[in-house]
């Protein structure tokens, strides 16, 4: 299927796993060893025999596994640039070649006396090739569930926009300034259009963090139109984040949550604090807002937060963290994700 290359093919379901992601590496190591263990159990004649067989097969398996992972780690960017099917073929060939190479280099070390060296090598090449195919299918399925989660996020963002509470109150607020301050009313309608556009956008790409920040500010300025001084915001953004990429609709739904549950129920209003910073190779997002504890979370918002967690998990695996701290008078969401730069994909 001919398709324009995007800077982050990795996000599309038709993409190889990111071989530099700690989570992907862990999954590969665990699954391969798990299958080897099952094979040992299937052939064994006693419990001791299971261990013996597993150790025997490990002598060959681990070098193949580790050198494959090392090579894939190094070639990750080059592989990601290939079309999906070419990439898949390349990965399978790589693993098969490594298997053959190690089998022949090891020679007598691996093949038992009764076994022909060349039969041993080709049998293992077939097995490792087949295992690679299975793993790639598994990663493709995982990636497909990411695209579903992303669609859900857009749908939810759209639903939040269309949520009568937001839509009608905002239209009402815009109407109230049309006569007195037409310029401000114009800006408000433009902001609203941008918010809807983002939620309806079909792109699966990562977006520039500064675009997400801009969108979030537009959202807050719309809410300010209604809430006035009750809504206070404080932003703390690292300079080093200008070129960072983030999954779309990560920050803005958090702010929506903060306004609806934190600020609106308080007649004196409150402060929403947003902090974005880079620590080493990590990007940290913090959103903090006042909150009355007894006010339970609204269902729609709970879904939006759940979806952010799910998307982080699918996309970054163990490299992203999502934590919520809910105190007596405040609510604090912390997101940690790998710092990804724009050029990295170009």
């Amino acid at each position: 299927m001919p398709k324009a290359q995007s800077i982050n093919e990795n996000l599309l379901p038709d993409a190889l796993p990111n071989f530099r992601n700690l989570g992907a590496i862990l999954r590969i190591v665990l699954l391969v060893n798990g299958i080897a263990l099952l094979a040992a159990i299937a052939q064994a004649v006693s419990v001791q025999d299971i261990v013996q067989r597993f150790v025997d097969s490990s002598a060959f398996l681990q070098p193949v596994l580790l050198s494959s992972l090392l090579l894939l780690y190094g070639l990750n960017d080059a592989l990601a640039r290939l079309a999906y099917w070419k990439g898949v073929t390349a990965v399978i060939l790589l693993v098969v070649v490594i298997t053959l190479a190690i089998a022949y280099l090891g020679g007598d070390l691996y093949a038992s006396a009764a076994e022909d060296t060349s039969f041993h090598a080709w049998r293992n090449a077939l097995l490792s090739g087949a295992l690679t195919v299975l793993l790639l299918i598994y990663f493709k399925l995982r990636a497909m569930s990411l695209s579903t989660a992303l669609q859900d996020a857009r749908l939810q963002a759209l639903q939040a926009r269309i949520r009568p509470h937001f839509l009608f109150n905002t239209i009402n607020a815009v109407l109230s300034i049309v006569r007195a301050d037409p310029k401000r009313a114009e800006t408000a309608l433009e902001d609203m259009a941008d918010l809807f556009r983002m939620a309806m956008a079909d792109s699966q790409k990562m977006v520039l963090l500064r675009r997400e920040i801009e969108l979030s500010r537009q959202y807050l300025s719309l809410e300010k139109l209604r809430l006035g001084d009750r809504l206070q915001e404080k932003w703390q953004i690292d300079d080093a984040l200008d070129d960072a990429l983030v999954p779309p609709l990560m920050l803005q739904p958090l702010l929506e949550n903060a306004v609806y549950h934190g600020i609106e129920p308080l007649s004196e209003g409150g402060l929403i604090e947003v902090r974005l910073q880079r620590i080493g190779s990590e990007l940290h997002m913090d959103v903090r807002n006042p909150c009355r504890k007894h006010l339970g979370l609204h269902n729609g918002n709970k879904m939006a937060l759940e979806n952010i967690r799910e998307r982080l998990d699918l996309q970054f695996d163990v490299e992203a963290k999502y934590t919520v701290e809910s105190g007596d008078d405040h609510y604090h969401v912390h997101i940690q994700l790998p710092y990804v730069k724009e050029e990295q994909y170009e």
Partner: protein, 255 residues
């Protein structure tokens, strides 16, 4: 109700400044055809109640979702005034309430409010009858946050979390807080239903706040005549538990 020549006095309650501003613009647009006077505005139910207990308004335009005290609770308290105003609810969206409005033919305006609809509602207002309190209670699944009492022409609010017990005596209900007693005129059964989360019935005529129960004490001699009573935090008084309600002593010991 009023003399038709007098201007209709209007009061606005909404927590959003632009929403109040919008209504004011529309009211001045209506001004050409109907004689109106805007006598005040408030940003939540509590403020509105304070102002409206000293100053009468014919019509109060009330937003439903507000911090501090929502519009429905405000309406319930306003009903206690000597001359309750006609209440017109305004809301951007509130599925639950709107169904109830339709059912009881209560006037409401959907935001953004249209000039024509506001005009109609105001024209009808002079002939409107205040909505009954029982109906207002149906408008929301939430219990009130306060009980209101009319005392010397003013409305007093007693936050429900300060109430220790409610006891029916003859025509009135005694509402007891740590500081003092008040009298309200509401059926005990309705209060029990509304505030089921806070109170438990210990006697045919008495509801006590579950959280405030300090201890249970056995009264009288052991034997057939003995019965339990409740001591509440901050009160010396012992409230008897009727024979039929004795089981709550056991239930509470489980906690």
């Amino acid at each position: 109700m009023n003399n038709v020549d007098l201007p209709l006095t209007v009061f606005i309650v909404d927590d959003e400044t632009p929403a109040r501003h919008r209504i004011k613009e529309l009211l001045s647009d209506c001004g050409a055809q109907i004689s109106l006077e805007l006598i005040g505005e408030a940003s939540n139910g509590r403020e509105a109640l304070e102002q409206l207990s000293v100053q009468h308004a014919d019509v109060v335009l009330v937003d439903i979702r507000m911090p501090e005290m929502d519009g429905i609770e405000l309406a319930q308290h306003l009903n206690k005034l000597d001359k309750p105003p006609v209440i017109i609810f305004t809301t951007a969206y509130d599925n639950y309430a709107i169904q109830a409005f339709e059912q009881h033919a209560i006037d409401y305006l959907l935001k953004p409010i249209r000039l024509g609809r506001l005009f109609e509602a105001l024209t009808r207002a002079r002939a409107a009858v205040p909505v009954k309190s029982e109906v207002l209670q149906e408008l929301t699944p939430e219990p009130r946050k306060n009980l209101s009492i009319q005392e010397r022409g003013k409305i007093l609010l007693i936050p429900i979390e300060r109430v220790l017990y409610l006891r029916a005596e003859l025509k009135y209900i005694t509402v007891r807080t740590v500081e003092r007693e008040y009298l309200v005129e509401e059926p005990l059964g309705a209060l029990e239903k509304e505030f089921a989360a806070r109170f438990v019935r210990i006697h045919r005529n008495c509801l006590v706040a579950k959280e405030e129960i300090e201890s249970f004490e056995k009264m009288g001699e052991d034997g057939a005549d003995s019965h339990w009573s409740v001591k509440l935090r901050g009160l010396d008084e012992r409230l008897p538990i009727s024979r039929r309600q004795q089981f709550i002593v056991k239930e509470f010991k489980k906690f």
